[in-house]
């Protein structure tokens, strides 16, 4: 009996502690909106640099990195105090970035300079700059830390950067205007979205060969509007989710058979996605309609859309 009571109390405490917070960057408001994921309400709005877009968390969830694109820098916020504690020299117009598993090397794509800049987040020093294709955009580092992959929007390529030497090792041609790349949790696959091509290319990381190219067709939506951007893969290897931009839908893909299972209606111009730590919910930022849609992963249903600032772009969730 005592044990039951104790476990009940623990469960309650756990339930309380699970009040995760979503951090959403508002591109036009130069701010972050904070959403309490228990109440699904905006609890705070924080001023940050000009045109905040890409967001990411340090692997210990203590620091939040913000691409302040028009301020030409990456800002670092202390998650606990919600204060900017330092700024990193990112090169011009940073939009997307990725953090190496060593929690130190930050790979930033500089859209205007056709470069990827590697920054040591502890010393704030630039470790190197790697020339890639025209208009570099998406950035991801493999879970084992071996590869950093960048997409170039105009060259239509994925650029494979060997992180041990910080040099370009290989490039793979994909469909038009690749915007976002995401590794599977086991590191075996790389998913890359092509905005104008309207496709998602799935590659085998070991051979860097294309396994499958996904196409999307939504009933009643013109094919031109299907512009895949953000991708998230569930940790259990079951689902892939793709934000389809102005098609206003998130595609659900069976990550094993690569079949499109469903399209979920969200707000206008859905851009980036983020899971909650327990992976029970997926958040989607809707730029034009200025809100964040919450998707229940078990039932694959959109349960709520929450108004945030103007043009929400990136989103991350802290436990």
């Amino acid at each position: 009996m005592r044990r039951t009571l104790l476990s009940c109390a623990l469960l309650l405490a756990a339930g309380h502690a699970m009040a995760s917070t979503a951090w959403v960057s508002n591109e036009k408001d130069n701010s972050l909106s904070l959403i309490d994921l228990n109440t699904l309400q905006v609890t705070d709005t924080l001023k940050v640099g000009q045109r905040p877009r890409g967001l990411l968390l340090s692997h210990d969830n203590k620091l939040l990195y913000i691409c302040a694109s028009d301020s030409d820098r990456v800002q670092v916020m202390d998650v606990a105090t919600r204060k900017i504690i330092k700024e990193l020299p990112s090169g011009k117009d940073p939009e997307q970035f990725a953090l190496h598993p060593n929690n130190r090397w930050l790979y930033v794509s500089n859209e205007d300079d056709a470069l990827v800049t590697v920054i040591d987040t502890e010393t704030a020093k630039v470790l190197g700059q790697i020339s890639v294709g025209v208009e570099p955009e998406g950035m991801a580092v493999s879970p084992d830390g071996k590869w950093a992959v960048n997409t170039s929007e105009t060259t239509n390529m994925l650029h494979w950067i060997d992180t041990s030497t910080q040099t370009l090792a290989d490039s793979t041609l994909v469909d038009q205007r690749p915007r976002f790349v995401e590794f599977s949790h086991d590191g075996a696959q790389l998913w890359a979205s092509a905005e104008i091509g309207g496709t998602v290319t799935i590659l085998d990381v070991a051979s860097r060969k294309v396994l499958k190219t996904l196409t999307f067709a939504i009933k009643g939506v013109h094919p031109d509007k299907v512009q895949p951007v953000g991708i998230k893969l569930s940790a259990d290897g079951k689902y892939g989710f793709v934000a389809l931009g102005p098609a206003n839908h998130v595609a659900v893909i069976d990550a094993k058979t690569f079949e499109v299972l469903d399209y979920l209606l969200v707000g206008r111009r859905v851009w980036q996605l983020a899971f909650t730590p327990d992976q029970k919910q997926l958040l989607a930022t809707n730029g034009v309609s200025g809100d964040v849609s919450v998707i229940d992963v078990d039932s694959l249903k959109v349960i709520k859309s929450i108004k945030v600032g103007r043009y929400p772009w990136g989103v991350v969730v802290t436990p």
Binding site: K219, G220, V221, N248, L265, V266, G267, S289, D291, S293, V294, V302, I303, K304, S305
Partner: protein, 263 residues
């Protein structure tokens, strides 16, 4: 008391029998809203671009939006069909016999209204079940909460039908009811488009829709389906149900038919 119960039971049973025996009537009551759902809503699906509006928590496809309106459409047609049946019954049917009963006429008429409403509810839930299979799935609790809302709306529309039937001398006039009551009530309401969309088109249209009782009926059901209470709509529907019933009972005149010699 027993006599009242017997009478109510009899009237409800008679409506039930009529409903069971006239299967085509049930089918046509289902086919009409289903056609709207499958054909009309599919065509408008992307064109309308609904934003997030109360009581919905997120973006919804058009099919989801029009479900409450179509449920109320069933009630509207049934209410009006009930009035048609009343004209017929008064002239040559059971209502003539019924009115010879010693029970108060108010009770008889209210029983009749309730019987029509209960049968209508069966049809609405039949429709909601098919819509569920089609993919429009409101929360289960909402389906239960919608029951009292639907019952009230059914009573209101049946009372309106009865009131109208008092003004109709002949069966042939029912076409007029179609044109001047059912269509304006349905189209000038929030059943097919949200009111802000109407406002986009014209302020006049918006006001016509806003004062239309059917709009409030639809909104009451819509909110109940999503576990919310539309207070104003509830007050309006309650008030109008009482008003329509009172007027219908007061203006009811069996002499219309009874005086005429059977011919």
């Amino acid at each position: 008391m027993n006599a009242y119960w017997q009478c109510l039971r009899g009237i409800v049973l008679r409506e039930w029998l009529r409903f069971v025996l006239q299967r085509t009537r049930f089918l046509s009551a289902l086919v009409r809203p289903l056609l709207w759902l499958v054909v009309f809503a599919a065509g408008f699906r992307a064109a309308l671009g609904i934003s997030v509006i109360e009581p919905y928590d997120t973006y919804i496809p058009y099919e989801v939006y029009i479900i409450p309106g179509l449920a109320c459409m069933i009630l509207l047609f049934n209410g009006m069909q009930g009035s048609l049946a009343m004209v017929y019954d008064r002239e040559m049917g059971s209502m003539r016999v019924l009115l010879t009963s010693p029970l108060p006429r108010t009770f008889l008429l209210c029983s009749k209204l309730l019987a029509t409403a209960l049968i209508s509810l069966l049809q609405v839930y039949g429709f909601l079940a098919i819509a569920w299979v089609y993919g429009v799935q409101p929360p289960a609790m909402g389906l239960l909460l919608a029951l009292p809302a639907l019952l009230l709306v059914a009573l209101m529309l049946s009372a309106l039908g009865l009131l109208l039937s008092n003004g109709i001398r002949q069966l042939e006039n029912f076409a007029g009811v179609m044109n001047f009551v059912i269509f304006p009530l349905f189209f000038l309401s929030s059943a097919l488009y949200p009111l802000w969309k109407m406002r986009d088109a014209s302020q006049w249209l918006y006001w016509l829709c806003a004062v239309n009782p059917f709009t409030h009926a639809v909104e009451l059901v819509r909110f109940a389906l999503y576990e919310r209470l539309a207070g104003l709509a509830l007050a309006i529907c309650l008030g109008l149900t009482v008003l329509f019933t009172l007027l219908a009972v007061l203006t009811f005149n069996p002499q219309h038919a009874a005086l005429r010699k059977p011919g």
